[in-house]
């Protein structure tokens, strides 16, 4: 029997969800709605009677707040009803929880063919809106049509008929279909096969595959013909996708600089990133596992090592910001979960590059989501994903630039702890023996997330596949994570990895390399509904799944524990050593490829790169009398101002480990340089996290952009009390397509930008002894929409992680005591190229900030002596917005005044006041300290450029002598907080 159960807020309480819709409709569309009432609707299709249905309605209702009824209530006083449900086959998390609750109430588990579907109905009161207006609100706010269904009714339609039941069951369909491809066709047809199948394989790659199948032996022994099956082509497409294989970073590049000097580079990854890390690894003893696992591992103490991984989830978030971002964070959680033999998840990080949320609607190309909606959805996805997983966030940031309109960058990362020893062997080591069972755990497989890996290896275009969108369920994953920790500690499996891009095809494909082969029956995989073909099962990126190698003698115990924890596990086959990636469906072979060919058969790309430094126009600097206005405007700019309204929606206190918080100061409202988190409850040792990102510098020279982000991330670690030794880095490259083609005529320049960034990465990670332990690249961040191509600026996020030996010595940026001295450490130069100030004037300029690594290292060592000796009361490192922003943050943080003599600031000669205050020169600090420590501090800093430039005052005023301005702290705070207040 089918029942509709309706739960609504009692009229005497505020309908919070309805209120939120009114606000968003007003914010997004400037449309005023008089009222919005909402209700949750559950469609139950199960073997139950009326009495049981009534009881279910009663139990699901919070009687103090809500009213629940079976059937449909007709309301008065509204104009439109919008019903939003899920499309068939889309994960319905609320429906799934309701399914469990109904089972508890009935005292029996619901069967697989008994369903509970959730939907939401909005009753909108707005006198003057047409159906078209309501459609606009429904499509552009209430629902995402890629995954949700919308039904709109006028009140009189609802009054005269029953609302249709929300019943998005998948229609029955045939499963197990395998097609073969004839590759003995023309080049054009080969390209067409790739394009049609979203395989993202080039002609050259298709020809390599064609050649492989021409020569493949013994296929008939497996019941296969010479033609590859769709399963085989899909496996190769996933394995060889830019997303999984990093073809551009592995390419052979002929690079030529502006003077005609030529260089042949075989793989940027190997020649620069890996090379630096390996060379540093010869000299330091704290690199435990780098580059070959899902996350890099560094030594922490005798009990634990730390793993850290940062990912991007740009393409999925562009299509469905909420779902895309959520699968980003729960997806990157699975990286440490699948690193070594499985980490405990400790801290999340997030950061987004976006177009301005205030972009006029007319400036957004047709087919792209408005950046405000993108931003709201992305935040909400990571907020829900992180909070529900019980993982605090360490650092979060946003960077705004108009070129991210085409593609938002969504960075998310996770720090994990892994025991140094599990069951007597090192926790980071894992292995697979032939005969071990292939086991999958977690959510069931559906059509969601098919072609995620290959679609993100292309630019965003109008027919990007909608099924690439996935929905995450943090609770399913949390249950699985809890189960994994128990199974790990009982030493029940030998190997674990996550199922991410490319699904089982990638995870089992990579695992099979360890044993030398695998055989797996795809018909055994648990599916959400009928109608999935073998290739779809293999490449689906359905969420919350991990893959294991379990020794046969442990499988019963592994299964028992999983059942007890409500986690589904399935044995899909076994690992072998026959060299084959062997897939069956009901024991019939559907794919058989040599592992060697899968992983090493792809020829290197051959590319050329040509560097020519751009020459940009220099702006005319404003007159000194505009300084106060410019100062305040800067503080309110999107890249400087506070995004606390959003940030406070993320949990940063769960686990009780936070020491230096994301927002610091007397009123807890100034963004910290970095954060410090205890490694365990009440531990003395902590973990410092920081990040550097400066995409505008790329418009001048990516070499100095890269040098600057490395320096920025490192000096932020120093700024909270960290030491310069033992910092590990993570590089996340997001680039526009750097391969020259018809679509990308400037590919050689963009590739030269990539080479230069890599050169700087090598030079500066080496100089600082800050090796990259993990990284990721995303190389196709362009959009072609509404007839307009938008490419992001070349962007590198450099994330740093370090150990804090004693968290009680960590330090925040806010001034603490009136009477303290204010110091500037480091030299300010005329370096405003790519600065926020030049951007404010509408220019790029040419004098990009550079890094003097030798001096920077000496500075960081000296500053660390000061923090270790607890001589400083506050410490801050200025970056975007220069000293102007820096002074403001120190003063606002402490709600104390600063009296500064600008002529005392150590600087190159000849700088104007504007240049002095807004230059973004690297490697500088603003410090406050007690006067009585002045002599000690001077001794420690004797070889470093520094000066005492003023003092902290009771007077609530930032007084800049030399600029003749004195700004009340309250004005600074007002400017800093108003831009994104409530946004």
């Amino acid at each position: 029997m089918e029942y509709r159960i309706e739960i609504s807020t009692l009229p005497k309480w505020h309908d919070a969800r309805g209120g939120a819709v009114i606000k968003q409709v007003s914010d997004y569309f400037e449309i005023t709605l008089s009222d919005v009432k909402t209700r949750d609707v559950y469609t139950i299709s199960a073997d139950i009677n009326d009495e049981e249905a009534a009881n279910i309605a009663e139990e699901l209702t919070n009687s103090v707040l809500q009213k629940g009824v079976v059937g449909e209530t007709k309301l008065d006083d509204y104009n439109w009803l919008v019903a939003v449900g899920f499309m068939p086959g889309v994960t319905d998390n609320v429906g799934r929880s309701a399914h469990e609750a109904v089972g508890d109430i009935l005292g029996r588990k619901l069967l697989d063919d008994e369903f509970v579907f959730s939907s939401v109905e909005y009753m909108i009161t707005a006198e003057n809106l047409s159906r078209k207006d309501i459609e606009h609100i429904a499509k552009d706010l209430l629902a995402n049509e890629l995954i949700e269904s919308i039904a709109i009714f006028a009140k009189d339609e609802v009054d005269t008929t029953d609302l249709p039941l929300n019943f998005p069951a998948m229609p029955d369909a045939e499963s197990g279909i395998v097609n073969t491809y004839n590759l003995e066709v023309s080049d054009e047809e080969l390209v067409e096969i790739s394009r049609k199948g979203t395989l993202a394989l080039t002609l050259d790659e298709m020809k390599v595959i064609q050649n492989y199948f021409r020569k493949a032996k013994n296929r008939e022994k497996y019941g296969l013909t010479a033609n590859p099956t769709d399963v085989e082509l899909e496996v190769l497409a996933q394995t060889w996708s830019e997303h999984c294989k990093h073809k551009i970073f592995d390419a052979e590049i002929d690079y030529e600089d502006e003077n005609g000097n030529k260089e042949h580079i075989v793989s940027c990854y190997k020649s620069f990133i890996k090379k630096s890390t390996h060379e540093i690894g010869e000299e330091v003893d704290w690199l435990v596992s780098v580059f070959h696992d899902n996350a890099g591992i560094v030594k922490f103490n005798d009990k634990f090592d730390i793993a850290y991984k940062v990912e991007t989830h740009n393409s999925p978030s562009a299509l469905d910001p909420y779902g895309g971002a959520m699968t980003g964070i729960v997806g990157v959680n699975r990286d440490p979960l699948g690193t070594g033999r499985g980490c405990e998840l400790l801290i999340n990080v997030w950061g987004y590059c976006l177009g301005s949320p205030f972009t006029p609607g007319k400036d957004v190309p047709e087919g792209l989501l408005h950046p405000r909606r993108l931003r709201d959805g992305i935040h909400k996805g990571i907020i829900d994903g992180g909070n529900q997983s019980g993982i605090p966030y360490g650092i979060g940031w946003e960077y705004f630039e108009e070129r991210y309109l085409g593609k938002p960058l969504v960075y998310c990362g996770t720090v994990g702890l892994i025991p140094t020893k599990i069951g007597g062997t090192p926790g980071h080591e894992k292995s697979i023996e032939p005969g071990d069972l292939v086991v999958m755990s977690g959510g069931r497989i559906g059509k969601d997330g098919i072609h995620g890996a290959t679609f993100s290896s292309e630019e965003l275009h109008s027919d990007s596949p909608v099924q690439a969108v996935q929905i995450g369920d943090p609770i399913t994953q949390k249950k699985m994570g809890d189960f994994i920790r128990e199974a790990r500690d009982a030493d029940l499996y030998r190997f674990i990895t996550d199922n991410g891009a490319g699904g089982l095809s990638s995870s089992i494909g990579e695992m099979a390399e360890h044993s030398g082969g695998c055989r797996m029956d795809l018909a055994k995989a648990p599916v959400k509904y009928a109608g999935l073909q073998p290739w779809e099962i293999l490449v689906s990126e359905a969420q919350e799944r991990m893959s294991f190698a379990v020794p046969p003698e442990n499988i019963e115990e592994f299964r028992r524990l999983a059942e007890q924890r409500d986690v589904e596990i399935t044995v899909l086959g076994e690992f072998t050593d026959d060299g084959k990636f062997h897939m069956q469906y009901n024991e019939k072979t559907v794919a058989c490829i040599d592992i060697e060919f899968m992983h090493s058969g792809l020829p290197r790309m051959q590319l050329t790169a040509k560097w020519m430094p751009p020459v940009n126009v220099e702006p005319e600097l404003p007159s000194d009398d505009k300084l106060e206005e410019d100062f305040l405007t800067m503080l309110g700019r999107l890249n400087v101002c506070s995004d606390e309204y959003k940030a406070r929606q993320y949990d940063h206190e769960v686990k009780g480990l936070s020491v230096i918080k994301p927002f610091v100061g007397k009123e807890r409202d100034v963004l910290s340089d970095a954060t410090v988190t205890m490694a365990e409850q009440l531990s003395k040792e902590g973990i410092i996290l920081s990040a550097g990102i400066l995409p505008r510098y790329s418009d001048i020279d990516t070499y100095h952009m890269m040098a600057s982000v490395i320096d920025l991330a490192i000096r932020k670690i120093i700024a909270v009390g960290g030491k310069p030794e033992g910092i590990a880095g993570l590089d996340n490259f997001c680039w526009p397509d750097p391969v020259k083609s018809e679509k990308t005529p400037d590919g050689e320049y963009k590739l030269a930008q990539l080479v230069r960034a890599n050169k700087a990465l090598y030079d500066y990670t080496k100089a600082f002894q800050t090796p990259c332990v993990s990284g990721k690249d995303s190389m196709k961040n362009d959009s072609i929409m509404g007839g307009k191509k938008i490419s992001i600026p070349p962007t590198v996020l450099f994330s740093a992680i370090a150990k804090m030996d004693d968290v009680s010595k960590s330090i925040s940026l806010d001034a603490k005591f009136a009477g303290d001295d204010v110091y500037i450490i480091g030299t300010t130069k005329k370096e405003l190229g790519g600065s926020e100030f030049f951007a404010m004037l509408g220019y790029i300029g040419n004098d990009v900030p550079k890094v003097d690594a030798k001096l920077a290292k000496a500075t960081y060592r000296a500053v660390n002596v000061i923090t270790e000796s607890e001589l400083a009361h506050s410490l801050h490192t200025p970056a975007i917005g220069g000293l102007a922003t820096g002074f403001a943050k120190v003063a606002m943080g402490g709600r104390l005044g600063l009296d500064i003599d600008l002529s005392a600031v150590p600087a190159e000669s000849g700088l104007t006041i504007h240049e002095l205050l807004f230059s973004e020169s690297n490697s500088r600090f603003i410090m406050t300290a007690s006067q009585e420590n002045a002599a000690k501090i001077a001794e420690i800093l004797k070889d470093i450029p520094f000066a005492k430039v003023g003092s902290v005052t009771e007077k609530q005023e930032l007084n800049l002598n030399g600029a003749n301005i004195a700004i009340p702290i309250s004005n600074l705070v007002e400017k800093y907080k108003s831009t994104l207040a409530g946004v």
Binding site: L65, P474, D566, Q649, E653, S658, K666
Partner: protein, 267 residues
């Protein structure tokens, strides 16, 4: 011989504060067991072997269908008898955040006139409609019978929730106040409990942050004392340390100390 105080922390299904909650009881001298709900329902462990039961924070079942709903439902249908006995035995129950939401759904607080398992109060969506993580000032009510808040005057704790607005019908609210069942209220920095957002982070009626049952042995609260065990958790610890005023432990410890002491003295 002194009683060994035993604390049971229920885990699983999206709950997530087990580690810090266990630490809180352990530093106060209690043994703790973190037990998955399924193992408890399957009778692998007996509730009667414990003195203190903790419903911890987290997102049981993702807060789908309203915070605490699905979890409380499962307990009600499969564990009510054991809980009734536990309450009748005079033992202690604390529900923190999601645990408080579960206690209210189960009707274990305020349970006016000893009527347990009848829901009369609820935790609704915050007025802002948003999840919020911040530190708040709290004032304990000296007249409350609550065991957990004994000797507390004012303190700071972190809050982190989207559904923390305490509501009840007027008559229920009147009785809660008359019987002094409000144990904790949000207040301003100066201790004034006449406050508004952000001091009262969710719009709770009468600025209620935590209530108990009439025995004072069952206590639910939205703030997280288990997340303030270390003095270095405080948002303002540096200025305190630099002026030599840093306390030895976090302000959240006292709740757990009170509970463990009570069991030691009564069992």
């Amino acid at each position: 011989m002194a009683t060994t105080v035993k604390t049971l922390i229920i885990t699983g299904y999206g709950l997530n504060c087990e580690k810090e909650t266990a630490k809180a009881f352990e530093i106060c001298g209690s043994e703790t067991s973190q037990i998955h709900l399924n193992d408890l329902l399957d009778k692998q462990y007996a509730l009667e072997d414990f003195h203190i039961l903790v419903f911890i924070g987290g997102f049981s079942f993702g807060d789908h269908l309203g915070a605490g709903t699905v979890f409380a439902n499962r307990i009600k249908y499969r564990f009510q008898k054991d809980l009734e006995k536990f309450v009748a035995d005079g033992k202690l129950i604390i529900g923190i955040c999601n645990g408080f939401q579960t206690l209210s759904r189960l009707g274990l607080v305020p349970a006016l006139n000893g009527e347990y398992f009848v829901q009369t109060a609820a935790l609704a969506h915050n007025d802002s409609t948003l999840f919020r993580d911040d530190w708040v000032n709290l004032k304990a009510e000296p007249a409350s019978p609550c065991i957990f808040t004994k000797s507390i005057d004012k303190l700071k704790l972190p809050i982190r929730h989207g559904e923390g607005k305490f509501v009840a019908d007027e008559t229920v609210m009147k009785e809660i106040e008359e019987k002094n069942l409000v144990a904790l209220r949000y207040c301003t920095e100066n201790g004034d409990s006449d406050c508004s957002f952000p001091d009262n982070p969710n719009g709770s009626i009468n600025n209620i942050a935590g209530i108990c049952d009439e025995t004072g042995r069952i206590f639910g609260l939205m703030p997280h004392p288990e997340a303030f065990l270390s003095p270095f958790n405080a948002p303002d610890w540096q200025a305190k340390k630099m002026s030599g005023k840093l306390p030895k432990e976090g302000e959240g410890v006292i709740f757990f100390k009170n509970a463990v002491e009570y069991i030691k003295n009564n069992f």
